[in-house]
Amino acid sequence: MTSTTGNQQPASTDQQNVTCTVNGSERSMFVPTERTLLDGLRDELGLTGSKKCCAEGECGACTILLDGRAVNSCLVLCSEADGREITTIEGLSQDGLSDLQEEFLNAGAVQCGFCIPGQVVSAEYLLRTNPEPSVEQIRESMSGNLCRCAGYERIVCAVQATAARRTCGHD
């Protein structure tokens, strides 16, 4: 059988301005319309803490908070973020390590580290919306964040320890 590959459809040349609040500061990007928010954050704003793995919303390595909700930034276009508020992993440690980040380290949850920014953002979202999650709730809520080093048990410990710190009034 003789076959041919090749698709002459060119890349889109349309570009647009996007302005959003990122980690408390107003930021603008002039980007192709098909640019994902993940690529925009990484390539335009230099915020490389959000990681790219599957690029199809399955692994959670690119998790950010968009208007306070955890989303896969690979599934959001830059244009959809116009006028909205974004918190990335960089925004969670502006005043040094957060209690959650400390507990990730204390629990031994951090191995290769590539998934960890997304895990931390997802866990932060969980704790903001459910301050005292059960183990089952943690596993359910975090199930969109893959960790191939499989530090899952350690991460559950870290989330529980953080919840305990926060509900006891410690920071």
């Binding site: 076959s3 890349a11 490389t48 790219k52 793995c53 399955e58 290769c112 590539f114 920014p117 499989a150």
Partner: protein, 774 residues
């Protein structure tokens, strides 16, 4: 001294080591951990390079084809596309590279041999233009009848995956078998005479992919001295340096490999793959070239060999093993990579850690038109262990014994040979302790709820059989220290250990020890980061380098203070003088005096191989693990709920208990991946049908057993520093065996084909209900 760690915590029992170091043996937090939690850690895709060309790969959607034409015109018209490079644009003959065989072309050489093999590379000013260019390249090809299964590869008139000319002098060159292995001892015919029960079965183990969360990539920069600088998250930077030097005709000093920490590797990032292509593109264009892979491209770059194992095993009436015959065919890919060695090292332990009077193990590494398989945590051991452990259970069922008892009766004692014959291997630990501990922690004798079953299994894996690690340690004037160690820190936490060791050996505070790795131009040679070898090899090198520093401090202190050297002595962290003990950093400062400066120590740990040994030498240590699983089977859906999973590893000494538990739990869950859900599916055209995260399932938070218990046996009997052994692979060696055994106990149905997906289990249960043979 023998000491089993007591089970003290609900989730793990680690950290009661008797090692008395201030830091060694303690759960010291991960070196570099903060940056990993804040996103500041720079992986290869996070590094910035000015004026870099972005590279995208052109592939075709079949596994085997002759390329008849490549039309670049449409791609070159796309704004930003600078060049399209195909195989015909590279030097002829096509440059090839490899570990055991120099068989892998830099780009497809007129023929595509596996789905995803790059046919051409597009270079562009932006990534978007590069991808558009890659889509626009026209490739004309004739699909060829590829070889995608063991049966088609081993058929008498099978099409050859490789041109025999690539394997000169190889008697197997006219077949798809790239390497075979045969291990035999004892007299099987004689043993059959006293055998009461024989079990014979065939088992399969799926092709699975590493799925590192970091897909990875390569950046190559031409340097002004005619050399090249390459950034790649590789496990073996020095091997990559050597490979590139040879391919490019450069001396080693002109090839600098910088290895940013891999974001997960698991064996998949050991050997060169696309780095030679990117380096050649950089030299060709005179510009920095950057290739960042997608997850799908990672799937097409690395995988574990699938395996089919037929085993025939004999037992006496008392359940003692009499003989074990194994035929193991490893389905490797289109190029050798290290797959031949994966086969020979895996089959070497195919008789397990048992007292086996007679054995015949025949292994073959079989080429197919699929992704080249490579090292993957456990190497070839999980495949053969699945079969051998299942055979132990088959024997136990036939004899009315349970899985624990039959292993007790056959497991070798410390110092006893489990591989016999010319290249024998002896147990290097009190392995029975791990087995008993696992049984205790799972509650082996406790009553079971309905639809539940328990299984127990053991696994071994040979550590490195030769090796070389070199380390430098600088004790600086102000009492801080820098250790240079070429181990790639890919998640196992190697640098944390070097920090702990140097802190204790030099008496320097932990936070005043920094570690430099991942740069062949500044860090001394390390053979590789694999086989869980680094603790033993690089750890020893770091200890030796510290001893070298201490000796140099002593000598200069004697000279500057006018004290005869024989009146001074040194020990970890201290210089002992006639006037009393002085901390080493203080003594160093006093000895250095007003000129300041520093002490530089060097340490080398070398293990020479044995030429005649089939593995190239005796293993420096063995990883031994016992795993016990309790499972609940939903007979309506075939779903498995793991209610309890216990892993016990024989670790020698835990240098960092927190890191041991992380590695052990991680390996256990990764083992559940290939046992329960993971498998690459190849269609009739050689295409991977489940290419990517949507269709290829790996364990998530929800797949973690309800209760996961990791424990360690510490007898301080390893060859590494403070009696340590390597630990990072043990917990996945026998996961499948323990799970299969538990499912059989719960259902009465035996499964021999992994993974045990709900569909597989449900289908098996239905067949059993209908009275069909399993």
């Amino acid at each position: 001294m023998t000491e089993a760690i007591q089970h003290t915590a609900p989730s793990h029992s680690h950290g009661d080591s008797t090692v008395s170091g201030r830091n060694v043996g303690q759960p010291v937090l991960r070196y570099g951990g903060e940056d990993r939690t804040t996103g500041a850690q720079r992986f290869v895709a996070d590094l910035e390079f000015t004026n870099a060309l972005q590279v995208a790969l052109v592939t075709i959607p079949v596994g085997c084809a002759e390329i008849t034409g490549i039309d670049k015109a449409a791609a070159l018209r796309i704004p930003g596309v600078v060049d399209v490079v195909a195989g015909v644009d590279l030097p002829s003959p096509m440059p090839r590279f490899g570990v055991s065989h120099q068989d892998r072309p830099v780009l497809a050489d007129g023929r595509v041999n596996f789905h995803g093999e790059p046919v051409a590379a597009v270079l562009a000013e932006t990534a978007e233009a590069a991808y558009a260019g890659a889509r626009a390249v026209h490739v004309d090809f004739n699909e060829l009848p590829g070889v995608y299964t063991l049966d088609s590869a081993l058929a008498p008139e099978a099409q050859l995956v490789q041109d025999p000319a690539l394997r000169p002098g190889d008697p197997l060159a006219d077949t798809n078998v790239i390497k075979d292995a045969l291990y035999t001892w004892g007299d099987i015919a004689a043993e059959e005479e006293r055998t009461a029960t024989v079990v014979e079965n065939t088992y399969t183990f799926p092709m699975v992919t590493h799925f590192p969360i970091e897909p990875g990539g390569t950046v190559a920069i031409p340097t002004d001295n005619g050399g090249i600088e390459v950034y790649s998250p590789v496990q073996h930077p020095y091997l990559l340096q050597q490979t590139l030097a040879k391919l490019l005709g450069l001396p080693l000093n002109k090839v600098r490999v910088c290895a940013p920490d891999p974001g997960g590797a698991f064996g998949g990032k050991q050997n060169p793959k696309l780095e030679p292509l990117v380096a050649i593109l950089a030299l060709r264009t005179g510009r920095t070239c950057r290739l960042i892979l997608s997850l799908e491209e990672t799937f097409q770059s690395m995988r574990r060999a699938g395996c089919r194992i037929t085993a025939r095993t004999g037992f006496t009436e008392q359940g003692h093993l009499t003989f074990h015959e194994v035929k193991a065919d490893f389905l490797i890919g289109a190029y050798a990579d290290v797959a031949p060695r994966v086969m020979s090292k895996g089959t070497y332990v195919a008789a397990g850690p048992y007292r086996m009077p007679a054995v015949r193990v025949a292994g073959r590494a079989v080429l197919t038109n699929t992704t080249p398989s490579t090292a993957f945590r456990g190497y070839g051991s999980p495949q053969v262990t699945w079969a051998t452990e299942s055979q132990l259970d088959a024997g136990a069922r036939a004899l009315g014994l349970d899985g624990l008892e039959i292993r007790r009766r056959n497991l070798v004692g410390n110092g006893e040979a489990f591989v016999r014959g010319e290249c024998e291997a002896k147990a290097d630990g009190e392995w029975i302790q791990s087995l008993e501990k696992a049984a205790e922690l799972i509650g082996w004798d406790q009553p079971l709820a309905p639809n539940r079953g328990r299984g127990i299994a053991v696994g071994i894996k040979p550590g490195a059989t030769s090796g070389l690690s070199q380390s430098l340690v600088r004790l600086l004037f102000d009492g801080s220290a820098i250790v240079y160690a070429g181990t790639s820190d890919m998640g196992q936490g190697a640098r944390t250990l070097w920090q702990q060791i140097v802190s204790d050996e030099l008496g320097v505070e932990l936070d005043k020890v920094s570690v430099v790795s991942g740069d062949t131009s500044t860090v001394p040679f390390d053979l590789q980061t694999s086989a869980s070898r680094s603790t033993v090899f690089m750890g020893s090198a770091a200890v030796l380098a510290c001893q070298d520093v201490r000796r140099r401090v002593l000598e200069l202190y004697a000279e500057t203070h006018g004290i005869p050297e024989e009146q001074l002595s040194e020990e970890p962290g201290l210089l002992v003088t006639p006037d009393g003990e002085v901390s080493l950093p203080e003594a160093a400062r006093a000895a250095l005096g007003s000129l300041r400066g520093e002490f530089i120590g060097q340490g080398t740990r070398r293990l020479r191989g044995k030429g005649h040994h089939p593995l190239g030498g005796d293993a420096a240590f063995y990883e031994f693990n016992a795993t016990a699983i309790e499972v609940e089977v939903d007979r309506e859906t075939g779903e498995l709920l793991l209610t309890k999973h216990v892993t016990v590893s024989d670790v020698g000494t835990e240098l960092n208990p927190l890191q041991v538990v992380s590695q052990d739990e991680g390996a256990a869950i990764m083992g559940l991946g290939h046992s329960q859900m993971e498998q690459l599916l190849i269609d009739d055209h050689g295409r991977i049908r489940n290419l990517g995260a949507l269709d290829y399932r790996i364990p998530t938070f929800k797949d973690v057993p309800v209760e996961l218990i990791s424990a360690a046996i510490e007898n301080h009997d390893g060859p590494g520093p403070y009696g340590s052994k390597g630990i990072s692979e043990g917990a996945l060696l026998c996961t499948a065996g323990a799970l299969g055994s538990a499912v059989a106990a719960a259902t009465g149905v035996v499964f021999r084909d992994l993974p045990l997906t709900p569909e597989t289990v449900w289908t098996g249960l239905q067949a059993a209900d209908l009275g069909q043979p399993d």
